[in-house]
Amino acid sequence: MLLKLSGRGLRALGEVSSRPFIGRISTDVAQRGPNEIWLARGGAGVPDGFRAYLLAGPRPVMPPRDSYALGPEFSYLSDGDVIRIEPDRGAVHAIYRRNSRTNSLLVTERCNNYCVMCSQPPKDRDDSWIIDDLLQAIPLMSPDTGEIGITGGEPSLLGPRLIELVRCLGQCLPATAVHILSNGRGFATGDLAKALAQLHHPDLMLGIPLYADVPEHHDYVVQARGAFDETIRGILNLKRHGVRVELRFVMHAETYEGLPAFARFVARNLLFVDHVALMGLELMGFARTNLDALWIDPLDYQRELREAVETLHRARLRVSIYNTPLCVLTPDLHPFARASISDWKNAYMDECDGCALRTQCGGFFASSTLRRSRGIARVRLG
């Protein structure tokens, strides 16, 4: 199912707050409190004592302050979700969904790389308010949450505020795995890596993209001279301080030829990383801008992919293939494929109906309809 996480889905029913605020969805009267947002699916009774009211049913006669009619596209919101409401724009943003396996917190849109295939193109503006919001939101999240992703932009640009955020996660959600997507450059010098390590977060991993064995190729993909050196130093620093690191390699027309050399380089130089993810291209953001230059049918890089997986696997590295449906992978690569696409942007095609591998398969990005692999086909067993 495709979900709309942000939008102008609110219509004010009366007097509203002047500033944006954050709260947790509740349908239980007993939960009332200053950070709780009442969600009513029907019925006229509106309890008092909530921060705001989202009403899907009929308008009450005397709506309390911050009562809104909720658009049907947000009907997925449910108990325990944490949302941000912007009263003046009538906007709602789902920061956290309790029932999702994949909650990602976007912590900044600023970035010091400018990757040719970036799915979330950076914006160079002050957005330090985001982290203030998140520090309010995290204590409202369920301690049962399995994993929280931190994404951007480039989280390490936040410096000490990133540390503050991870500390907050560790304190409020000690049983929740934290996965930070970072280009690693911010950890190249100074004490950020050490500060992160000293939090002793029980389950922390950094996912760091690396696109080549030599600087000129990596720097081209991320459009920043000197980025390779800083990323490598960042990885070395993080590992030196005992922070777990995953390498991420996005496969597209400008990178796939370097896959085998990349794998040999990692097996020789970075054998101490904790995981290597080889990732299919998500056709969003700059990947759309540069679609003709970057698109390659995954069928056409199977040889390079297989060689890279073989090299990494033989070196006893944990290796995974992300974002690629099983039908376009050769069967010997199936054991490495993971269902990795976040639920809110995951989709399946007509061919998937009745496919024997459907339950094991990660499916597609919703954006995948822009270009189709020749390999997409219903797999029948026997």
Partner: protein
């Protein structure tokens, strides 16, 4: 190719600048056309003579494929990046760090008695009834104290002979005592018995099963060859070995039994038969070993039965046959080759004690001889049986681990055994893949460094490495199999 949107810069904007600097490298001729260039950490590139010259003269085009390969393997760097220096440092540290673990292999010669009378016996075995060639329990206890003074987190105790099963009571004692100590020490502790398996019985097998003991046996090839090499008075050594292998596998598990072969003049024409015998018996590993210049191999002049060129022919034919066996889908790995490949491709190199820099003498392996004397290697005690005690590190009666490790004579041997500072080795392109063998050079040239131009050890290393690099370069099928051994 379709270009990127105008707001992105193309590849040329990120190309390296036109000059570059060399990082430490060595080179050696591979054949008439090609050279092998190696880095200090053992990465390599094969180039033509012209390419080698252009590379060294800073004349390579920085946008070419060869430049990229040299740069990725940290043989050059340019103004755009210093990451090569950080990574080289990490790799060098990774490779040499295990030296600081000190001794992991501890060999107990529990008896020198043996029922076999092998022509090539390198330890100069004694006949069975002379119990004065057994290790005393007191010495075994002192040796165990030494074992656990080593800081190595992984300890392997290997029982050697003679035939160690002839003094099985002491083997049992050492295993039990080591496990008792290890209940506190918590090392990764492993036991191996090197045995001809003639004396294997249910009591031994039960004990081995209870204590996860591995067996390493000798198997020289088909029955006639094996029995010719390894005479057993009043018995059939081959039958005993094959039966023992089957019984030990049944009792302990297939992977608990490995075998070693020794090449005699009679083996030379029969490498295929020997390999086929290993395949037939279900082994996944074979070690094509040449004779060593110790013990009866010298006394009987057996070692003069072939020279290094004969052995290399044997090895090359053997390796070709092993590769063919693998292409048929049977997994079989040649150990000498695997050690070299580890050194070429694995970040940690190889842990094989006989090919290290500094040499693995004492810091890789310690040998506790039946008479209470301590040696720095199995070969060191073999030499001692021939009257040359230069690798003796004192007696169990008055030594601690620390006093052995800091022994002046040992320090001198280790210092002399760094190929990085040995004549001819220091400049050799194969240096990062090689090691020192002071005992061999002491035995053959009466000098622990040795003159490499006259060294059979060096000739063998050179030829094996040239052969391997050539296979890796020119034979994609062979390369695929060889890389799976790393």
């Amino acid at each position: 190719m379709t270009g990127l949107h105008a707001r992105f810069r193309d590849r040329t904007a990120f190309a390296p600048r036109a000059d570059y600097r060399l990082l430490p490298f060595r080179f050696i001729r591979l054949d008439d056309q090609r050279y092998v260039v190696t880095s200090d950490v053992g990465e390599h590139v094969v180039v033509s003579r012209d390419q080698l010259i252009a590379f060294a003269r800073h004349e390579l085009p920085v946008t070419g494929a060869l430049y990229r390969e040299l740069k990725a393997k940290h043989l050059v760097f340019d103004d755009d990046s210093r990451a090569a220096l950080d990574l080289l440092a990490v790799k060098y540290r990774t490779r040499v760090a295990p030296v600081a673990n000190l001794t992991g292999l501890h060999i107990f010669v529990v008896t020198l008695r043996c029922d076999h009378s092998c022509h090539y016996c390198q330890v100069s075995r004694q006949t069975e009834d002379k119990t004065r060639f057994d290790m005393a329990r007191d010495h075994a206890d002192k040796a165990l104290a030494l074992v656990f003074e080593s800081p190595n987190p992984a300890i392997k105790i290997e029982f050697q002979g003679g035939e160690p099963l002839l003094n099985f009571g002491l083997v049992k004692h050492v295993v039990q005592e080591a496990e008792r100590r290890n209940a506190v020490q918590r090392r990764d502790l492993q036991f191996v018995i090197a045995s001809n398996l003639t004396h294997l019985d249910d009591e031994i097998l039960n004990f081995a099963r209870e204590h996860d003991i591995y067996f390493s046996t000798s198997l020289d090839g088909p029955e006639d060859l094996h029995n010719a090499n390894r005479p057993l008075r009043g018995g059939n050594s081959y039958r005993a070995a094959v039966d023992g292998i089957a019984r030990a596998r049944a009792a302990l598990g297939h992977e608990f039994v490995s075998a070693l072969m020794t090449t005699t003049p009679a083996s030379l024409p029969r490498v295929e038969d020997i390999i086929d015998e290993y395949v037939r018996l279900g082994f996944t590993s074979i070690f094509l070993r040449s004779l060593s210049p110790y013990g009866f191999a010298i006394r009987t002049r057996l070692i003069r039965g072939y020279d290094i060129a004969d052995w290399l022919g044997f090895y090359q034919r053997g390796l070709a046959h092993i590769l063919a066996v693998n292409r048929r889908g049977v997994q079989l790995r040649e150990e000498l080759t695997a050690i070299a490949l580890q050194k070429m491709f694995a970040p940690l190199g190889s842990s094989y004690v006989d090919l290290q820099s500094p040499a693995g003498i004492a810091i890789g392996a310690l040998v506790y001889n039946y008479n209470g004397k301590i040696y720095g290697s199995d070969e060191g005690r073999m030499l001692a049986e021939m009257g040359d005690d230069s690798f003796c590190l004192g007696s169990l009666d008055d030594r601690t681990f620390a006093s052995v490790m800091t022994d002046d004579a040992l320090q001198q041997i280790l210092e002399d055994s760094l190929p990085e500072s040995a004549p001819m080795c220091a400049d050799c392109g194969f240096l990062p893949w090689c090691g020192a063998d002071p005992t061999f050079h002491r035995a053959t040239q009466n000098d622990i460094v040795g003159h490499k131009a006259f060294s059979a050890f060096c000739a063998k290393q050179m030829a094996v490495l040239r052969h391997l690099v050539t296979l890796l370069e020119d034979d994609p099928d062979a390369r695929r199999v060889l890389m799976s051994w790393v």
